[in-house]
Symmetry: C2
Amino acid sequence: MISSKKALNIILNKAKRLGTQTLSLDDALGFVLAADVKARINVPVFDNSAMDGFAVHKENLIGEPLKIIGEVQAGQKAAVKVSKGKAVSIMTGAPVPAGTAAIVPVENVHVEGESLIIRKPVLLGANIRKAGEDIKKGSVVIKAGSLLKPIHLGLAASVGESKLKVYNKPALSLVVTGNEIIEPGKKLLQGQIYDSNSYLIKNLLAELSIDICFFAYSADTLAKTKSVLRKALSKADIVITTGGISVGKYDFLSLALENIGAKCHFNKVNQKPGKPLSFFTYKNKIILCLPGNPVAVATCFELYARPLLLKMSGFSQISRPRIKAVLAQPVKKKKGRASFIRVNLAQKNGRYYAKPTGRQGSGVLTSMVADGVAVLPEGSGDLKKGQFVNVVDLGGEYR
Amino acid sequence: MISSKKALNIILNKAKRLGTQTLSLDDALGFVLAADVKARINVPVFDNSAMDGFAVHKENLIGEPLKIIGEVQAGQKAAVKVSKGKAVSIMTGAPVPAGTAAIVPVENVHVEGESLIIRKPVLLGANIRKAGEDIKKGSVVIKAGSLLKPIHLGLAASVGESKLKVYNKPALSLVVTGNEIIEPGKKLLQGQIYDSNSYLIKNLLAELSIDICFFAYSADTLAKTKSVLRKALSKADIVITTGGISVGKYDFLSLALENIGAKCHFNKVNQKPGKPLSFFTYKNKIILCLPGNPVAVATCFELYARPLLLKMSGFSQISRPRIKAVLAQPVKKKKGRASFIRVNLAQKNGRYYAKPTGRQGSGVLTSMVADGVAVLPEGSGDLKKGQFVNVVDLGGEYR
């Protein structure tokens, strides 16, 4: 059976960036930048005042009386000029007049009519923000490949960009298999269970700014499965399925995929949960088959689907952050198989402690309300309290 | 001057939860649950098979030959009954027939026509998921006050809920002041700068699932400022402003707010960046006035606006996670004033190391492309390399 590490490598090797599009700053959050943003201007554009105060000449940096000869507001040109014995009233952000050596803050002067006395000496250059001090014209402000966050969009705006070239997000189809699955809100008949996987996956995708372009439940017959898969593939760059991939008599997914000409790259992974995880390609399209158990779905989404989708979205840093944490209790583990344990995290004296969230069965969805997933490699056996483990940080509020 | 800690307390004391609404699972991501979700069913609903295999009787757990008398698929009723000497073929997730003591996995049996031989003995109860094993009917599945993440929405679906009662998000107006501010994409005239604050704030709000119900640029005149504020207040639970709040001659925001009857709670905070931060209320509405400098805006949004908005959204855990990190280089700091330093984080042997992102001036927006903000309290002076600092984790990919 293939290892978890090898499975991820095979998946990522098939993941290709898609095309690009140009989006306005209002729509680009969560997309990946496809071309460097270079500053077309200096930031600040011009030398400007960091304070409300008075622009003074280099020979008037201490206490002598000065004559106020004008004013510059933010958004105005600096029409006046500062010379020896003269000061100009200036607002925060306003352009610094020619001849200015420093800005004296308004709190440090005494004004009487048109006359000004500096009460606290000021250093040469004080409170002047120099043109290009933050960003030099022509320099790269945001590198291609960045996942766009609010601060990036603010930065792009500050250099005057209103649109950004970004990588397309993959078009994604979701197929939930299983005769026993019904929608929440409906009445359960005997033998039926509520669909939780599609709600879990839809919302995990929303966090990646990926919409679902085609969704279907598929009953467990070969003909129905093939027809649904054909539709799903026709619309999408990637199809994600849940269930129907195990060795059961009515698990038609593998057969259906082979029947329509998809190529299987692996159909089982040496891990728990998520052993039935399978991976196919069809022409340039990807089919990732998640197991049916909700915990296996949640775990395999985090460890396989998320990096795959981020890579298809053009992002290179495709893994969640990992934390090295100290096990807060012993953990039983079968040697020879990777194991993913859901844990909560606590911080103490700058170290993290990881505690399993309780029963770890693959039907136990409550165990996924967790801060992280501890990745226990194949080679490891039982773990003792106090051992370090690698934890995939799911981005909680635990600290 | 009021301390940063006191300022936050004053703000949070005025933040009240708003009303509630009922949303479908497709729309509830990022909202805060307003009432406990209690399970109306057991999960699993019924005893079911964890494997594809055969249901066997308690007296047939080892190797004797058995007669296969029927089959149960997922989604079907278990119409047949298991008795001594008889086995029933069963699929993963299918209800366990009466009389079943264990499920023998299909990999561990030898089948010939209607006859079955167990090749590997099985323990009593093996591979049966018991009804209520994950969630007991009537138990609380998600607590009121939880910020809804994908896993919660999957959990709600698994107990059959299709809608959830959540707290309303605040209706928010954004007002950007400053004669010098123009929209990105337009040509800069002398003395003008591009608006970055509104793009920064809009996208920070998007991450909190909060829409802007009213947006305006406001020129620096008293009449215009008052009129824009009145409109902003009429539509919103909270108004956020940027700029115009300092001591400058053309900073009309405070005066305008007082003129229209708003109450000032503080108009300056002993911190850097963000000293001009001001806070008003008008009837039951909140007005948070951020400074004009982009770095002060980004920092004050993180430290004040975000907790405020989360509390108004019904969330009690309103702070970003904090990390105790080791300073990777010395930091100069004026004693007697809180200071917020943007840092990048690196992990080594289970410890975090914090390194300032470079020049920390309040116009230096590039310094905000950071993993976190180190909060240096008022009492602290210069800091040495190796000292511990508290870092607000901005949720990056640094680990």
